[in-house]
Amino acid sequence: MQELSVRVGGQAGDGIASVGEAIARSFSRMGLHVFALNAYQSVIRGGHVWFQARASPRRSYSQGDAADVLYALDKATVEIHAAQLRPGAVVVHDPEKFAVAPSELPAGVTPLAVPTLEIARKYTSQSILQNAGGVGAVAFLAGIPLDVLHQVLVDSFGKKKGEVVDWNVGASTDGYKFAEGHASPNARVLTRQGPAKLLLTGNQAIALGAAAAGCKFLAQYPMTPASTIMHWMAAHARTLGVVVKQAEDELAAIHMAIGASFAGVRSMTATSGGGFSLMVEALGMAGMTETPLVVVESQRSGPSTGLPTKTEQGDLNLMLGAGQGEFPRAILAPSHPADAYAATIDAFRLAEDWQTPILLASDFHLSENFATVDREELQAPPPPTSLFTVAPNGGDYRRYQNTPSGVSPRAIPGQAGLQFIAGSDEHDERGHLISDVKAGIPLWISERQRMMDKRMRKLEGLAGAVPAPVLEGPPDAPVTFVTWGSTIGAVRDAIAELAEQGRPANLLRFPAVYPLDVARVRPLLAGARRTILVEANYSGQFGRLLRAETGFAIGDRLLKYDGEPFSPHEIVARALEAPSDGRQ
C-alpha cells in the first residue's frame, strides 16, 4: 500500500503527543487517511513514549509495521525504533542533545541533525519552543506543505493567540528550510487528496456518538483508557446539554447512570476492566429492573492493574459473565472510530428498545489512537423518540408485563397514575416482590420462571437486532481470519498486504460478539477453508465463545498478550505459515 509513516519518540513530558498530533493533523488536512498510534507508559514524566502517524491515500486500519521519518527527542528513541525504519528513512535529531552516527542506523537510513534548540533560542529563552524546528524538518521530509503545518500549529493554540504562535510558525519554518537545505523529501511522500478529513480517537467518536444518540447523562470515574470520553464530554457539556458527573468510584458511576435512566434520560458510564469489575453487581440490577443502560468497557492489559497504558482484548469473559444469575445483555465491539460512532448510537437504540444493559467493548488501541473519518460517516441518527411510551391505564398498569418479545411498557417517574417499584428482587408483572411472602409457593414458583423466561427471551430478539457478522473479502479465499474489535484493523491491513502478494484471504468479523445468531454464524464458519482466530488475549476468549455457541473449533490461533497491538506483518506471517494441527 502507498503510505508514509512518521514516528516521534522521547520522554513523557517532552511533548511527543503534541508533535505527533500536529503531523497527523497536517496529513488529515491534506485529505490523506491517517492512523496514529499514541504509545505511552504509566508514568507522568520520563520513561519512553512515542507517537506514530501513518498516512495513506486509501484508508489504513492500523499503525502498520514501519516508519519513514523518525524524530528522536532522545537517544533511547533511536535505539528502540531504528530497527523499524524502512530504507530511505531519515532520523531527525538535535546534535546539541546527542549525536547519531549512520553506523547506528540500518542500511539505507540516514540521520539528519537539525539545530532545533539553536532555532528555538532565536525566538525565546523559554523552553516552550524546543520541538518547533524539528516539526518543521519532519514536515519537509514527510511532504507536508508549510502552509498546512502552520495552520495546524496556529489552530492548536485555539483562542489564546499571541507571540508564542508566531514563534512556532517562525521556528517551524526555520526547521523546514534547514531540512530543505540538507536532505530531500522521502520517496514515499503523498500529495493532497481533496478535502480535509476528520481526525479523532475512538473515545472521541464514542462520546460524539453518545451525544448524537441523545445521551444526556454520563457518570464516570477516571480510568485509562476510558477517561478521555469523560474529558471530551465534560468539555462539551454545556454546548451539548449533557450532565457529566465524575463519581466517587465506579460503583457510584454506574448506579447514577441507572438512576438517571430510570428517571428518563439516556445515560452512559464508561470505564476499563478494573472499574468494570466494580460495576458487575449493578449491571445485573439494570438487567433485573429492565433499565436501559450503555456501558463502555475499554480494555487494557490485565490482569489486575496490569499495564494500564497498553492494549488487550482480555475482558470478554468478564463482560459475558458479569453479574450473578442470568439476564439479557449485548456486547458490541467496534473496530475503528467511524465504527465506534455508529456502534454507540446502536448501543443506545438497543438499550432503549430492549430495556437492558448494552456493553460497548473498546480497548486501548481503539480508544486512544487516532484515525481519519469522513464527515459523511458521522451522520446524525434519527432523533430519539420520546421515552414516555405508556398511556396511563388506571390500576392495570403492569411495568413488567409478560410480552412476546419480553419487552414491557415503560413508565417514567413523573407520569401520573403509573407509579411502580423497580425492584432488584424477583417480582411479578406489577413489580411486586416475589422474594418475600410468595417465594417457594407453587403458584409463585411458576411465576418466577415466567419472569425469567420473559427477560431472557429478549436475548433471542437481541441476537437478531444487533449488527450481524460480516464476511469481508473474497468469499472463497483459502484463509479466513476470525476476529473482533480493534484487532480487525490490523487484520484488514494484513489482508490488503496478502492480496498484494497474490494471496487472497478474507475476514469474518463480529461487530457484535454477543448474543450470536447461531443459525447465521454457523454457515459462515463452516464455509471457510482455513480459519485463523486473531485475538489480543491469552486464551482466545472469543474463539471459546464461538465454540460454546456453535461447536465450531477454529483451526489456528494467533494470540497476543504482550500489551502491543497486532502489526499487520505478524498476521501476514501466520497466514503464510503452514496450518497448525487444529488443536484448540
Partner: protein
C-alpha cells in the same frame, strides 16, 4: 423488535393527582418493628407537603427497612444493598422536578454504603435521606451493624462487638451535610416534622431514625430510647452552629439528643450544575440535530 404497543409515545394527562398514600402492598415487617413508624412519618410528611405520588420517588437498598418503597403509592427504586444514594442522585439529576427520598438501613447506609453517604453530602444534592437505624442487620437475621454498640453480642460477634460504632450524625457534620437531624420512630409526630422540613430543605437533608428491631436487637429497644431521648428543640440548641452541633453529636449515654442538629444554606449541586438551568434533563431536547458544527474541531 419491541412490541408495537410499547413504542407508542403518548401524552400524559395529569388528570387527578393523588398525593402519596399507602400502596396495595401490606408491610411485611415483624409486628412492632420500628419501621412502621418511619413509613407512617414519611407518608404524613408527604401528605403535609401535598406532593402528588407520581412526583415522588422513594429509593432504597436491601434490608428489612429497604422494603419501604413497596408500601407507599409513589414511584420507587428498590436497588441493591448499599447503593441508595448514587441511584437517588442519578434520578435527581435526570429530573430535578421530582421529590427524591432515599430510605434504608444502618447497614445499607453506614456499612457498605458509607462512601456514597460521605460523597453525596459534600455535594449537597437536594434530596432527603431517611435511615432506619436499628443498630443491627435485620434481614440477614441479626449480625452486628456499623452502629451496634460496643459489647453487643450478635451472630457475627458472639463475644461482643469490639469496634467503636459509627456516629452517623457526626459523620454527616464532617461531610458537609446541610440538614442533619435525628428522629425516633417511637415519636412519629416529631419525626414527621423532621422529615417534612428535610424535604422542604434546599440541599441534602439527613434524618437518622432510631427504629428498633424488635426481633434481633434486644438492647436498643423502644424502651431504651424512650428512657434516653430528649429533644434538641427543647434544649435550646442552636442548629446554625457547627461546633455546637458537633458537641451534641458526641453526646451518647443516659441522655441522647434527637431533633435538628444542624442546618445551613449552601447552593445545591443542581443549582451549581449549569446544564440543569434549562430545566429538568428529562425534558430537555436530546441528540444532535446536526453534528456538523461540532465536527469542525476534528478537522
Amino acid at each position: 423488535m419491541a412490541d408495537s404497543s410499547v413504542r407508542s409515545p403518548v401524552a400524559v394527562p395529569a388528570a387527578t393527582l393523588p398525593v402519596v398514600g399507602k400502596s396495595e402492598t401490606k408491610p411485611t415487617w415483624c409486628p412492632g418493628c420500628g419501621d412502621f413508624g418511619v413509613v407512617a412519618a414519611i407518608e404524613m410528611a408527604l401528605k403535609r407537603l401535598a406532593i402528588p405520588s407520581h412526583e415522588v420517588v422513594l429509593v432504597s437498598g436491601i434490608g428489612c427497612s429497604s422494603n419501604l418503597p413497596h408500601f407507599l403509592s409513589s414511584y420507587g427504586f428498590h436497588g441493591v444493598h448499599g447503593r441508595v444514594l448514587p441511584v437517588a442522585e442519578g434520578i435527581r439529576w435526570a429530573n430535578h422536578g421530582l421529590t427524591v427520598i432515599g430510605t434504608g438501613g444502618d447497614g445499607d447506609g453506614f456499612g457498605i454504603g458509607v462512601g456514597h453517604f460521605v460523597h453525596t453530602m459534600r455535594r449537597n444534592v437536594d434530596l432527603t435521606y431517611v435511615t432506619m437505624d436499628n443498630q443491627i442487620y435485620g434481614l440477614t437475621t441479626g449480625q452486628a451493624s456499623p452502629t451496634s454498640s460496643l459489647g453487643h453480642t450478635t451472630k457475627s460477634t458472639p463475644t461482643g462487638v469490639i469496634e467503636n460504632p459509627i456516629d452517623p450524625v457526626a459523620l454527616a457534620l464532617a461531610s458537609g451535610a446541610t440538614y442533619v437531624a435525628r428522629g425516633f420512630s417511637g415519636d412519629v409526630k416529631h419525626l414527621v416534622d423532621l422529615i417534612a422540613n428535610g424535604i422542604r430543605h434546599k440541599g441534602f437533608a439527613f434524618v437518622d431514625v432510631f427504629s428498633p428491631c424488635v426481633t434481633y436487637n434486644k438492647i436498643n429497644t423502644f424502651d431504651f430510647f424512650r428512657q434516653r431521648v430528649y429533644k434538641l428543640e427543647s434544649a435550646g440548641h442552636d442548629p446554625s452552629n457547627l461546633v455546637r452541633a458537633w458537641e451534641r453529636a458526641l453526646e451518647w449515654g443516659d441522655k441522647i439528643p434527637i431533633g435538628l442538629f444542624y442546618r445551613t444554606e449552601r447552593p445545591t449541586y443542581e443549582e451549581l450544575e449549569e446544564v440543569l438551568h434549562a430545566g429538568p434533563l428529562a425534558r430537555q431536547p436530546a441528540g444532535l440535530v446536526d453534528p456538523g458544527p461540532i465536527l469542525d474541531e476534528f478537522v
